[in-house]
């Protein structure tokens, strides 16, 4: 009975507690890539808006459903956002699957399902809320709402995965709140939250957990 044995016991307890409640195979690299997609999406969005301004297109929900696509700024931006989201989710899935394989873990476990559910519940409520905002024509509220609800979803899901996700969520939510104060700069906050923050926290996760 030595001190090392007790230390080992404590380390083992901590390890088992984490492994049995948290899904630790989440890939940091996928966060970095998601950030890059978001920045590219943001740049495309910027050009769409700029072109719309030059051509004098304005927006309302009625116009959104009746305007042809090439003049329809909202639909173009929504399309870019959806492409960014789909790319990010696909990347995250495959990189996480690869990481799980490396650690000899399954990807669909009780822990990962709980993680996904706890992430999707606030996110889908927030998503619907944002769509309703869009329906009422509060276009300036769309970016902050997305950031706030995404941040809350991350914070909610962070209990079931790597702790870094909590700080990503907190930062996104704060950026969303700031964006609410500075309405009209949605695109910049969007790029900061979904782009730069993901690259930043993805890198932290990559250095802290992936590289081992």
């Amino acid at each position: 009975m030595t001190k090392e044995k007790y230390l080992q016991d404590i380390a083992e307890i901590k390890n088992i507690m984490n492994r049995s409640t948290r899904f630790i195979s989440l890939s940091g690299l996928s966060g970095i890539l998601a950030g890059f997609y978001a920045i590219i999406g943001g740049i495309i969005g910027f050009f769409i808006l700029q072109r719309a301004q030059i051509n004098g297109y304005t927006d309302s929900f009625d116009r959104m459903i009746s305007t042809p696509f090439n003049q329809n700024t909202s639909v173009q931006i929504i399309l870019v956002a959806i492409v960014v989201l789909v790319l990010a989710v696909i990347t995250a899935f495959f990189l996480t699957k690869a990481k799980a394989k490396k650690y000899n873990q399954k990807i669909w476990t009780k822990q990962s399902i709980r993680l996904v559910l706890n992430f999707l519940a606030p996110l889908s409520i927030g998503g619907l809320f944002t769509l309703i905002m869009l329906y009422y024509g509060f276009i300036g509220l769309v970016a902050p709402c997305m950031l706030i609800f995404y941040g809350l979803a991350c914070m909610n899901a962070s209990h079931f995965t790597l702790g870094t996700v909590k700080y990503l969520g907190l930062t996104c939510a704060i950026l969303g709140l700031l964006n609410l104060v500075f309405i009209g700069y949605g695109l910049y906050f969007w790029v900061a939250g979904f782009g730069i923050c993901h690259i930043l926290y993805g890198s932290i996760m990559y250095i802290k957990y992936d590289k081992q």
Partner: protein, 97 residues
Amino acid sequence: MSIIDKLNKAFDHRIRLGIMSILIVNDAADFKQLKEELGVTDGNLASHTKALEKEKYIRVEKSFIGRKPNTKYIITQHGKEAFTSHINALEKLIKNG
């Protein structure tokens, strides 16, 4: 009473420590899950869960999922307290040692 005496004999084994660690942070765990997390054989796990059950640190719920029997393990209040004080004693030993 020295600190060493406060260490619980029932937890003085890797697998029992593992079982308690899983059950204290999860509402419940079934036999298969415990087996996979701890990487032990059926017989080995069964003897250790039985020992913990005898001490009333965990309780067992047997049910059927479809036609398959399912054994679920849940930590008792008594078990929670015993495990927490065991960990506290471990920590104290490390600090003073």
